[in-house]
Each structure stands twice: as C-alpha cells, then as structure tokens.
Amino acid sequence: MNKKLLIAALALVAALIAPVYVYPVLLMTILCFAIFASSFNLLLGYAGLLSFGHAMFFGTSAYITGWLLKSSPISLELALLGGMLVSTVMAALVGLLAIRRAGIQFAMITLAFSQFVYFVLLQAHFTGGENGMQGIPRNALFGLIDVKDSFHFYYVVLGVSALALFLFYRIVNSPFGEILRAIKDKEPRVESLGMKPEQFKYLAFILSASLAGLAGALKATVFQFATLTDASWPISGEVILMTLLGGLGTLSGPMFGAAIVVILNDELAGLGEWALIAQGVILLVVIVFFRRGFVGEIAALMAKWKKPAAKSEVQATA
C-alpha cells in the first residue's frame, strides 16, 4: 500500500516538473490521449464493447468547444463542459440504436454513425469545412485566471486530466463497474440473475463518450484548432492501437499506450508516410508477442515473481 503511495507521489512530482524539461504541448497531447484511450478502455476493456467510431465523440466535442470559445466570451471550463455535454447527448442517441447489437455489428454501427458525423462536420458552416477551425482562444479559467501561455495551461490540462482519470478509476471500481465486468465475462448469466445487461452497457457507452468528449474538448484548447482529422476514422483506429499497445482492461495500460503512440508520432513525424508503417509494425509485434500489452505483460511478470512455483500451475490453467 505504501509502495503505491510512493509511486503516486513520484508520478505527481514528475508531472509537476515535467513542463520545465519537456515541450508542454507534447505533454498536454499525451494527457488528452490518455483520457481518450481510457474512455475507450472503459468500453472495450471493462464492458467488452468494441467501438469503431469513438472519433465522433472526440471530434464533435473539439468543434463544439472551439466554437463556444470563438463565438462567445464563455469561460474555459464551461466550454469544455459544453463539448462534453454534446458528445454525451450524441452517445445517448447513438447508443439507443447500437447497444442491443454485439460484437462486429456494434462496431459497424458505431463506425457508420461516425462516418455520418464526419460528413455533417464537413458540411456544417461553423466548422470551417475542410479548412478546419483555426484560432481557438484559451479564454480565462473561471473567467478569472489567464491561461494563454502553454506552460501555465499545462497545469490546467493536468488538473482536468487527473479529475477525468480519477472518474475513470472510480467507474471501473464502482458497484456499476463490477456488474460491467460480470457482463463482459458472461452476459447471459447477468441477465438470468435479474439484470438487463443492455442498460448497463448503454450507461457505459454514454460515460465512455463523455470522457472521449472531454479529451476532444481539451485537445481543441491545447492545439487551438480543430480539424476533420479529429473526427476521422484513423483517430478511432489510433485509440484502439493505444489501448491494445498499453494493455486492454488494465487501469493504466491505455494511458501508457497513449503516451507511447503520441511520442512515437512526434519522433517519427519526419519520416512522413513511414510513420504509419512503423506504427503498423509495432502493433503487429505487440499483437503477436505481447498480447496483454505493455502494462499487462509487466503486471503478469510481477505476478509470476510474487507467487512462484506453488501457484504457477494455477496460473497455467487460469
């Protein structure tokens, strides 16, 4: 327990001094995608639902937040909440149609909706179409605190991310989260115990979309622009990559996955098209050799060290 506290304290110190040494925008990008990947992880890792269209929540929210900030003197946190709210409502509608389907059907329905949303965003006037939305201002936080400077803004993003990730942690470790894990394990059994699995999956879908929306809203304020890329299917694919790379269904795995992918994209940016190929190769290696993902494999190794010999037989059957 104390070890955990120590790790948390170290992480906190590292997070606080990081922008002194690392470009703040890169750090903020990592945080945004850590939230996004966690939102995806909530859905796939804990509820067993594979969404192929998570970019619709990310992208829409980015545009809504950007539009709110550009067109009104609204304070920053309200703009973020506004974007989040729209993606939440969107999920409530999409979920009505998608949630009764499972597996590949669910994935295809979410993809279809996501393409539809992409098209709407392309055609809508307020988004700026193919040019995207530029020059999104970072309005004052609570209407008081100036956060225009990226160095200062980093701490806002850090605080919001900490809240979001705590919310994710809370959901996963709540009474509701327990039922979700049971549904992922054996849905018909949950039904036979008198609960309606689709209601739980519906709520999980909405919660996941809110978090994805928050990630998109933050991203719009970090980069100060929103583009169609944010709502495009490669973003939906990238979040899957992050989650699998880090470790599906592990608490922190997808966050690490997000960091790895963001840093890789940054490092490989000079290679142009080759960056995608490198990403593909990495994903292939992970899927073939490290099925549990980065954090999943480390956790498995630690578990092996902790209970050697005696328990190893049990592990083999598990």
């Binding site: 709540s174 054996k186 115990l193 739980f200």
Partner: protein
C-alpha cells in the same frame, strides 16, 4: 417466504396455489423443426421435480422456454399465478424464478465473493452507481460470505472463479443463484460432466438448498433423479410421454421403450 399450500382446497383454487409453475400447451419451433410440441406441465410447490428424456428429447429447449431464455412459439406459462409468457428472463428472475446453466456460468475473471455479490447487487439498488466506490456495497460481503459458506466455499472467497475445479464451479453457481432467494430454482443438468466424487456432494447440496423452495431440474443421471426427485416428467420428441413418481414412470412401457439400452447408463 413460500407459503405452504393448504392440503384441502377446492380443486380449481388448489391448482394455482399448489403449483408454483404451470405451463400450458407450450411449443417452440425452430424453422420447420418442432423442438417442444404442446407440452403442459405443472410443478408442485415445495417439490423437487425432474425433467428427463433421451438425448434430443427437447429437455433443454423446454427448460429455456420455462426460464424465458427463449421466447415461446405458442402456449402460456404462469409462475405463482402470474402470466409470465411475455416476460424476459431478467424479469422472471426478479419474480423469483432463477436458473442455472448447463455450461458452468460463473464469472471467471471475478473472485468468488464478487461472483456472489453481483447477484446480490441485482436487488440492492446500487448497481448503476458508477460514481461510488465499491465500498458502497460492502454490506453485501457478509451475506455473500454466508452463501459461499452454505455451499462449502467460504475458504476461497478471494480466488478467481476460473481457478476452481468443475464441481466447485457448480457449487459457486448455486450460491450465486441462491443470492436471489428464488422461490423456484431451475437447474440445467447439475451433474453433467462430473466425476463420481463430485456427484454425491452436489446431490447433497441440491437437497439442502431445496429446503423451503421448489426445484425443477433437467438431469441425465437417473440415479440422481431417483434419489432426489419427488416427481418426474419424461419428454421424448418434444412431447411428454409420462409424468409421475420415479417408480411409476420407470415402470411405464413408453418410457422403457424410449430409454431402451439407456436404462442402466
């Protein structure tokens, strides 16, 4: 809980009060195949009732119809006098009709305690509380522990269900089912795939949990049926061919023909 039916009542009133579950002319069709054909069945309150029959007789389909896991093609089912024909299984579970599964239906990646707690959560009213810590349902741990104790698993509450042996998984499943305090327990082949050493304890366990409730089970093992059950219904080709005590049914010529060669299995 389950009221003991008064022995002397007018026949019409008695039929609804004495029988916890009544199926009238239920059928289920899969395309052209009539898996269950016009079956009528009454399960007497407080009894242990078995549904038997040779392979492919439609037992499992019939079972799935009774638990509402499959919709009816035609017919009517009532439970405790209430028409449940149009309900789904989550609804009938809440009314007190809870089933187990032929393929062990535990949650493999949850601990034993969590397995039972999930079932307890069904009626606890906090299942949608995503903003609260799991400590919000801590109160349920004691009851979950009792239920595990009842089936002899109290010592392994923090193991993952996937780490249990087959027989113990069935016991865990029964504990999970009991968490809903069902009036009627439906067990789908509780001893299927079990070795001799597991059959005896599970039979004892079923007898124990049957106290104060009604049990309907589908079972292959006739020796289990003969020692456990008050009443036996025999299905063949989706239809009932006999109904009565084990002794009466086993003397029935139709049943003997249906089971020819399987009698001593």
């Amino acid at each position: 809980m389950s009221e003991v039916a008064a022995p002397a009542r007018a026949p019409t009133a008695a039929s609804s009060a004495d029988n916890i579950l009544v199926a009238e002319n239920i059928s289920r069709r899969f395309g052209a195949f009539l898996a269950v054909n016009d079956v009528s069945l009454a399960v007497r309150r407080g009894s242990i009732h078995a549904l038997i029959g040779p392979n492919g007789a439609g037992k499992t389909t019939c079972f799935n119809l009774l638990t509402k896991a499959l919709p009816l093609s035609s017919g009517r089912i009532s439970f405790n006098g209430k028409d449940i024909s149009a309900l789904r299984s989550a609804d009938v579970a809440r009314l007190g009709l809870v089933r187990s599964f032929q393929i062990s239906a535990t949650f493999p990646n949850l601990t034993l305690l969590e397995n039972v707690r999930v079932a307890l959560q069904a009626t606890y009213g906090k299942a949608f509380h995503f903003w609260r810590s799991i400590a919000a349902v801590k109160d349920l741990n004691a009851r979950a522990g009792e239920l595990l104790d009842q089936v002899g698993l109290a010592g392994s509450r923090d193991l993952l269900a996937s780490e249990l042996s087959y027989g113990k998984k069935r016991a865990l499943e029964i504990a999970t089912t009991l968490a809903l305090e069902p009036d009627l327990l439906l067990l789908d082949e509780p001893t299927a795939g079990m070795g001799h050493e597991d059959i005896e304890p599970i039979t004892r366990l079923i007898r124990k949990v049957a106290e104060g409730r009604t049990v309907l089970l589908v079972e292959h093992n006739l020796s289990v049926v003969s020692t456990l059950c008050d009443r036996v219904t025999v299905l063949q080709h989706g239809q009932i061919i006999a109904d009565g005590s084990y002794e009466a049914v086993s003397r029935d010529p139709l049943v003997r023909t249906a089971y020819m060669g399987e009698e001593d299995a």
